[in-house]
Chain length 480, copies 2
């Protein structure tokens, strides 16, 4: 075996420079690359594979709750975007404009969709006639574009990929139930499949979606103590229904405006996974979304060992086909140690070492990425044991992340306490503050310590005793 | 049961006005809708569902041949697009240009991708270093935009959805093998899953892709006698490698330019399915890609019949769950006859009627969309029989389409014969003409009778005897 390769370079430790660590992981794990187009990244196969697994797992939940996928145009005429005043005010500064088609200047500028409420609203006004057409439950997987000044792979890019659900309902109650239903779908998806613990709650007016009545979000905490908004669900009320004239005839024959929701998660979740689970050795991918769940590394020195080990790999493959997403790394030009390093960097949840002694025993040696725990697994039990082991890793990643999140959640009794936490003590994390909804106070906090109101948790039981009886807490943090 | 609904309006017969029939089917089966944005359609859930099944079945084949999915930016800087002269000349007239981001004018215009050779070429030149990096086999599912003057739902739209494969190889031989491999993947996919028979062959210089060395395509025949190019696979030679400087170090340490391919199919295939299988009653969807493979229609007049029939529907559902994509149409406001009409219009391959007599027998009555054949299927055998029946429908649709195609394929010995066929006799279909590759002759044919050279079939055995020994035939047709 050729040992020609040089030892791989170490990553910058997270504690030294978290941003640099992040950029290095993205590049060296080949998740994404800079494209040369302002703020746009290329999703390389390994990074895109993570997104494909997220899509598959979330799409299943979206279908199971009665939604159907559709696809609406990329371009939105300026006049359509301008119909809802708050909406256009919020998005216009970020819009990329198409002004020419071929060699002709267009009569009206077209926006590349920053989000699709306007174009979908225009269609819903055509499609919805009667109460029998409601609820209308549609989801779209698409690319969108927001002209950002400062970008960062996955977290904030000019073009990103997402899903956006858009629904219309007969009553305000049905509408609000949908908003909370999809918030819960997101919470369950992100916690179960991405192993990222989140707080689900409502946003303040200052932080709500442009054009919404009310915005809800799920909020996660990254390893550097910054919060990440991981998904949003908006109650649009009748704002868009009124400007796009979306009405239905009710059972009494009366015309009514519909009530609408929209909700979305994006490729920013990939950034959330990196910053929740990654460590100084690189990525750690939750098995549910790992493109490679286990990698097999053969070990041999002498040709006769090679002759014993290599045929055994086929038996490992056979034992796991259809059960585990497996990569067999039988490249000759790299040593086992080099491969261990690379697959740890790529965050493969479990490595299976196969050396002459393992073959003699008819077993493989599994090594977990998260805690390095080793276990010799007999070949005949591998098809059962490895999927179970992967579930153990999945659960352990979630518990570790929740433990970290809770350890980095503090309480503050007053504005001064909260400002001191972020400003003077230089701490991060979530801070729970008793909250009565003052926009002035919220602005002061933002100005003084750059912390924003992430959400007012729906489940206040976790914060029992932190606020006077009958009052709620809001979670503040510095955020991505 | 309310019989309030009016009898549904009939479609324009295909023989009366095929274009009108097409437009009516697209609208009334709710496949797509006009968006108000020039040349862009909305893919409604039923139409998008067809595309999702196509994606799933084709993506499986793309993965099985060793390709990985990735995602590249939507926007391509003008300078990048201009690098390959033939490429930009071919696409520039059709490009939508972004000139402003937010309220700022951009320093350089950005093209919305009409296809991604340029942006992908720029990345490949960064990624490929050694022969060990080859072949590089990447596919992208994406939206693209071409500013078309005349548009038609699915067949030609300003924005459309597609997959585009882009590969790089060490040798010309590997490159050509990939071109033909993916052409064969397309042929197999389109014939097996869409039940559309195609001829696979090479294009003439006049019809090849802008920037390609050689283009291959699969060509289908629609029910109005027009041909449809259903997929293309291009040998790009070293054109892009030279202008984007995509090189690798070979085993001898020498720098070489790579050899490239690209290949794609698009949502135009949905149009192909409509025009291959549809009839005067509406759509006919091949079961492999039908969002609804079978629809259950309960039949009852008296309340006691309703009480017997409705609970039976759950047993039908249970028998088929996970085996067949089923819709149970238990809407009270429509009669069974009205539902039959609607589901025929929507092209559902099999309908299952459940009336009191069927319930008494413990059976359902299946009715095929293609030939109206009826069969009483006992409930206990339904989970086995219905999937088999759907495969019979799938095969019958393919055979009927192939029979139509072959019946509408003629031969011509000379240019004059061919022109007479299209021009004076007013006939359509494919015409096979012995061919030696004269560009002048090809241009004359196009001018005189609007027929173009669709392809020179790879498999000439079907045309044995049509050309003098040692000579090949080319297929001509008027085309979409």
């Amino acid at each position: 075996m050729s040992q020609a390769q040089t030892a791989p370079e170490h990553l910058t430790p997270q504690s030294e420079d978290f941003s640099k660590w992040y950029a290095e992981v993205v590049q060296r794990a080949q998740l994404a690359d800079h494209s040369g187009v302002r703020g746009c990244i290329v999703f390389r196969p390994y990074g895109y594979g993570i997104w494909e697994h997220m899509q598959r797992l979330l799409d299943r939940r979206i279908q199971a709750t009665g939604h159907q996928n559709a696809y609406f145009p990329l371009l939105i005429p300026e006049s359509l975007l301008q119909k809802e005043a708050e909406h256009v005010e919020g998005f216009a500064p970020q819009v990329a404009w198409v002004t020419h088609g071929g060699d002709k200047e267009l009569e009206e500028r077209l926006a590349i969709r920053p989000t699709s409420e306007a174009i979908i609203g225009a269609m819903y006004s055509k499609w919805i006639e009667s109460y029998r057409d409601l609820p209308l439950l549609i989801n779209q997987w698409a690319n969108v574009m927001r002209w950002e000044m400062v970008t960062r792979p996955f977290l904030r890019t000019t073009e990103f990929l997402w899903q956006e659900g858009h629904t219309a309902h007969a009553t305000a109650e049905d509408c609000q139930a949908e908003v909370l239903r999809m918030l819960e779908v997101y919470r369950d998806f992100v916690e179960t499949d991405l192993a990222i613990p989140v707080h689900a709650g409502s946003k303040s007016d200052a932080e709500k979606f442009a054009g919404a009545e009310m915005t809800y979000s799920i909020e996660a905490l990254m390893k550097d103590g910054y919060a990440l908004q991981a998904g949003t669900s908006h109650n649009l009320g009748q704002h868009f229904a009124k400007v796009f004239d979306i009405t239905y005839q009710d059972e009494q024959g009366k015309r009514q405006h519909v009530w609408q929701t929209s909700w979305g998660v994006s490729t920013r979740l990939i950034g959330g996974v990196i910053m929740t689970h990654g460590d100084d050795h690189g990525l750690q991918l939750p098995p549910h979304i790992a493109p490679v769940q286990a990698v097999v590394v053969p070990i041999w020195r002498k040709p006769e060992e090679r002759a014993a080990v290599l045929p055994f790999l086929d038996r490992v493959r056979e034992a796991l086909v259809g059960r585990v997403r497996l990569q067999v790394d039988d490249r000759d030009q790299y040593s086992p140690g080099w491969k261990y390093y690379e697959h740890e960097l790529r965050g493969v949840p479990v490595r299976l070492e196969v050396g002459p002694k393992d073959v003699a025993k008819g077993a493989v040696m599994s090594v977990r990425r998260d805690n390095r725990a080793k276990e010799s697994i007999p070949l005949e039990g591998l098809g059962e044991r490895l999927p179970a082991l992967l579930e153990e890793v999945q659960a352990a990643l979630f518990l570790a992340a929740r433990e970290f999140r809770d350890r980095n959640t503090s309480t503050a009794a007053t504005l001064e306490d909260l400002v001191r936490h972020f400003q003077e003590d230089g701490r991060r994390g979530f801070v729970a503050l008793p909250w009565e909804g003052s926009a002035v106070l919220e602005a002061q906090i933002k100005e003084k310590c750059a912390a924003t109101l992430r959400c007012i948790p729906l489940d206040q039981s976790r914060f029992a005793g932190m606020a006077p009886a009958g009052r709620r807490v809001a979670l503040f943090a510095r955020a991505y």
